[in-house]
Symmetry: C2
Subunit: 246 residues, 2 copies
Amino acid sequence: MPDDIGDELPHALNVLWGRAKPKGRGRTPALSLERIVAAAVALADEEGLAALSMARLAERLGCAPMSLYRHVAGKDDLQLFMLDAVPGPPPEFGTAPADWRGSLTRWAVELFGVYLRHPWIVQLVNSPPMDPGQLAWLDAALRALGGTPLDQRARFSVVMLVLHYVRGAAQLLASMPAEPEEGADGAYAALLTELASPGRFPALARAVEAGVFAPDPGAGPDDDFRAGLDYLLDGVGVAVERAARA
Amino acid sequence: MPDDIGDELPHALNVLWGRAKPKGRGRTPALSLERIVAAAVALADEEGLAALSMARLAERLGCAPMSLYRHVAGKDDLQLFMLDAVPGPPPEFGTAPADWRGSLTRWAVELFGVYLRHPWIVQLVNSPPMDPGQLAWLDAALRALGGTPLDQRARFSVVMLVLHYVRGAAQLLASMPAEPEEGADGAYAALLTELASPGRFPALARAVEAGVFAPDPGAGPDDDFRAGLDYLLDGVGVAVERAARA
DNA sequence: ACGCTTTGCGTATATGATACGCAATAAGCG
DNA sequence: CGCTTATTGCGTATCATATACGCAAAGCGT
């Protein structure tokens, strides 16, 4: 039975990997999976993941709530489709690019952008990726390290490390209340200033005092991301050199 | 008005920072905030975050659902309390430990353990930490770098980097289906073997073939975590040396 | 034109969050 | 020792949500 592996899988995965049965002759579909997923993504972008309900989605699509279930097995299924569709194609570089650091940086920055445009992704990721959309990104990241002396296991560790950082940084940035004024410290900074007493949290108080939570005047939030990424890639560089020597 | 900052805050924060009004004479409370939070944590641990509902929680506590609302403003509030309570106290080291790497490693490993014991934490974190429990951990991590020539902003970047990694690694590990047999590749590996065709995902296929997703016979899942953490800290080491030279 | 197939959707149910208000109870006061 | 009052426990009701089930509508092949 070559197909028994798919039996316990979410319905969405079977569809995404092209295992769905080809339809033929019935009624003309007024709805399509693509339209549903696109509308769901738009709704989550505009009003947040909490606002994404089957009823509101149907309203936006001009159909009855139950119509959606003809195309999606359930809400979990829908979210799987969303996760597959939303990142789009990963950046392309050859199989073994000479500049692993530049390639990986580009990969991380583009993925960071995806997460910033769709902050709800982070709240949705609960299982390892098994859909073509996310696996394509994973493959691209592994390819970025293709010209490197690292072994396969190390490459995977590195990719996961970068991925975790991108996700975490995007989530943090998205969750910070927006800072409208350039002079303002931001609500978070103001709160920490009051709460982090030097007696109880000395190190934190020093950080607050040094203005760590105030926006750096000459830098955008992207620069913070790049700074952390550079620390991380320095570590990868150490590993690459070590592997090259061995 | 020195207190106006707390007006827009979640109720839970005002309680946690000791700003709640002292009660006096009413009826003897049969319920307490501590009991509620402890029961909620236990329920989430045992049956997952999805199973945590006010009704099920009340059932477990032997009280009516609406009784909970006397102690918690709502479900969001409850989750804030849970996030504050669950990590416990951070590891202690002096204000400026000589061995920053050892200290930060200990911090990360202990936090990793917390996340593994309570995997639902990751799904709950939606805003920057503002409760004493989480800020204590943040302070501890900053203290681990206290003996370091890094400036405050760099220290914060490093701590966030480590935090993101710990969270991501824990989430990934917790979401992997358990591998009962030692010889088995695990369901994820089997699935990837079938799905990652060399034509479409060459780098991924090579990783699968190399057994990256099969459990390393001589290593536990903890070792994977340590490996990634070491890459990361190597990068921090580079930054420390650079700062020391400057 | 007929029937099969597949889609769209109305109805119903179960679960969950939570507003509101009353009743039970205990501390302090006369 | 009974009254006042603050405060808790909880019953009832409302509203949002996911989704099972089955019928009706509408193309396609014959």
